[in-house]
Point group: C2
């Protein structure tokens, strides 16, 4: 830790105005983690003191204070105990929203459509005028898939009136009522762990093992070389190959009587190892979907909410008509999906269909993002982070490779799985909380309030950890 | 409305001490519903003013005040704006829980296991020592099914180490990694609308239509005659027939290579039409599950939480070992499931895995239930309700039949679908909110604070509506 002190000091004196007032000024470790007060139970990492956590710092029950660059699997948008959110929740006008959870689909609160217009619809992806909230990310994708199946069948029939055979067969899980239709997904993709979602998830065996699945097609996701700008020709070839195979798979599944109703893809494959692809790849894929009559679903559960420097990672593609459905959760605090008019939500229903108390928090998060220009800040911090990772990669070529990212949504590969896991634990004991993804990557998922000086605190500690591994 | 006034007055003067202080004293209608301020949007019934709603009364945006006997599809445990819940949420000590939603599976808050012990585990079903929270009812059932599949495969293997073939095949949705295993469910059952749940749902075509499904078996749920005590012999025969067919189906699916890993059933089929079965039926089914090595999952999403006069409807069976898994949501305010030790949760995971802010509310709901002896009250109100329905059934034999129920979890059949729907709308315009289920039933789903005098307010108004239909 000694080496890092002067640099942190320099940063504080250089940029005192940008420091967050409600944040701590750095990590502070009392014990190794998990400490004595964190009984280790199953998959639990350690127990937390959320009351004492602030801004970018998560405090555990042993009073260890860690710079959080993982943020509850990328789900804390503006840090812990943000004053704006504390103030919001302390407002007695909102008590009723906290204690009376409605069945939103039939008995919404007064002005609910207006509130959606002010919050979720104020950041609608291009071409999408409607949104449906859900309780979590998996439910969002499950229902998005259902919306695509219903849309596809209505298109096949030419209208939305089912036949008597449709009605009678669906009750016993048989076609044509429960049709042989599929969702195409990508190798390395992750879309959740409920049974529909899981049939499109292909990141780790442990997620899928022992659970029955559907005969749905999987296409290759491009395996690009980084930095992207140094390998444009090779990467373009790889993407062309993947698009070609995708189209082959669509044709093949149609021929075997299980046509692709929808294509689902992450703008950056997160759980699967932070795999990027170019705007041209996604434009090509969008065209393939259109050509073959498949709906196009962009899963922004992990990428959405600002971490790439835009509300939606797909905005970096620069398309007017990027998708038919865009799902979200995590940093948006509520699950849900945006959709085009023609993917009518009428038959999508459950008891809660979201939670107005989460929408309330989200509206204030969006206010904070706008007021504090957090997307610009993320872009700035993200550049500092990626440049720092490039420097470290040059310094530790035996350990690090493939630094990559957009905004603060960054990752780097470690030489092997065991070293990766050791680095994660050592960084934690030095006060930096990180997460892994893929086989041997580390993913960086800070909150949107992760400033340049936090980047430098992180880089210093990460450098110390790497020096010990050299 | 005139006919009902004296009776209400009598009730108030007879039992003033039991009236809820925070409740309204009766319905008050300004317009028909939906009124002018409720713009009708798709499936929305009307817009609500949750701030002004109190106890058993839901107030809409036109200031119509309705006695709520449906409670947001059975999901409001102790009425609107209960003072205990308002006080809880106004406590600044809980602000942190409201604004910092953790990834519960890896970074739970301090004392989280203790808090579960005080709340959910304090009402554990017999034989179940563990609970896993989830965000909603569908996610609860999806994950319960996964837990049963994992348990079944470990049992088949004799250990929990997958083979290389398991690992490689699961990544492409193929057996043996994604095995051909099934969940047996019942005709008329409802277990949610995500794709795994939907394959076990057989209540209405509209839920299932156009969504691909699994080749999973469906067994007949007994169609009993009511009142149950008058048809014991006929009903026992019907139940024996259903048990026999269930066993046949299990054998058949095993023979065709898609064995039944688990059986899922509701203690009272709710969405499917409030269909009851006897404790003997469920005991027989439990034995069949044991005999054939299937896990037994009781879905208490709608029945759980006290409306039958016990926390869990399956307690009425009087069994020490009623199930391997019991799922819940709705009145419990959080989704989740209890399970036996051997259905280990280790591989069940997602980002949120529930929400501590909902657990906080639930703990206080359980305090209120105990403090106010609400289960006894429910039993008392339920008797008054069912007796009232019997009386009305005798008075309107051309309209009403098959009155049935346990606690306040009651239902009655109407002569036909059109009359049922007309009665629901007329009751609403007179200030009573009811819900339908099945083809032509009305289900009664009041909160646990629905007292005998609320029963009489309801019966008076229901009588007026029926008189107009006679």
């Amino acid at each position: 830790m000694r080496a890092s002190v002067p640099l942190i000091f320099d940063l504080f004196s250089a940029a005192p105005k940008t420091q967050l007032e409600y944040d701590y000024d750095g990590p502070s470790m009392k014990t190794s983690v998990p400490g004595p007060r964190s009984q280790n139970v199953g998959a639990v990492n350690f127990f937390c003191n959320y009351e004492e956590s602030r801004g970018n710092y998560l405090v555990d029950v042993d009073n260890n204070r860690m710079l959080d660059v993982y943020t509850q699997i990328s789900s804390i948008p503006i840090g812990y105990n943000h004053p704006a959110l504390l103030k919001l929740m302390a407002n007695p006008n909102h008590l009723s929203t906290l204690v009376n959870r409605p069945a939103l689909g039939i008995l919404p609160p007064e002005n609910f459509p207006d509130k959606l217009t002010e919050s979720l619809l104020s950041v609608s992806p291009s071409g999408m005028t409607r949104v449906q909230t859900m309780a979590c990310g998996s439910c969002s994708n499950e229902n998005a898939y259902k919306a695509m199946f219903i849309w596809y069948r209505n298109k096949e029939r030419g209208h939305n009136m089912p036949s008597d055979e449709d009605v009678s067969t669906c009750m016993i899980n048989k076609a044509p009522g429960c049709p042989d239709l599929s969702i195409l997904s990508f190798n390395g993709g992750f879309h959740g762990r409920t049974m529909g979602c899981l049939a499109t998830t292909h990141s780790k065996a442990i997620h899928k093992l022992d659970v029955p699945s559907f005969d749905w097609p999987m296409a290759p996701f491009p395996r690009l070389q980084y930095p992207l700008e140094e390998f444009t020709r090779e990467n373009a070839q790889e993407e062309a190959r993947c698009l070609e195979e995708t189209e082959d798979v669509i044709v093949k599944w149609r021929q075997k009587g299980n046509p692709v109703a929808g294509i689902v893809i992450e703008p950056i494959q997160a759980e699967g190892g932070d795999n990027h692809a170019s705007p041209d790849f996604f434009k090509g894929l969008r065209n393939i979907a259109r050509k073959h009559g498949c709906a196009f679903h962009v899963d922004e559960v992990q990428t959405g909410g600002g971490a790439t420097g835009k509300y939606w990672a797909h905005e970096h593609w620069g398309m007017d008509d990027p998708a038919d459905i865009v799902s979200f959760s995590k940093k948006l605090l509520t699950g849900g999906y945006y959709h085009k008019d023609e993917l009518q939500p009428y038959r999508i229903f459950n008891t809660w269909m979201g939670d107005p108390s989460k929408n309330l928090l989200l509206a204030e998060v969006l206010n904070v993002i706008r007021r504090e220009n957090l997307l610009e800040e993320v872009t700035r911090s993200g550049k500092a982070l990626l440049n720092g990772l490039y420097d470290l990669q040059a310094q530790y070529p035996g350990i690090l490779s493939r630094a990559r990212g957009q905004g603060t949504f960054c990752a780097i590969d470690i030489c092997d799985d065991a070293t990766r896991n050791s680095i994660l634990l050592k960084a934690r004991d030095k006060g930096v909380l990180l997460g892994g993804c893929g086989d041997r990557s580390i993913r960086f998922r800070p909150a949107l309030i992760f400033k340049e000086y936090h980047v430098h605190i992180f880089l210093n500690i990460f450098n110390d950890v790497l020096a010990e591994h050299k």
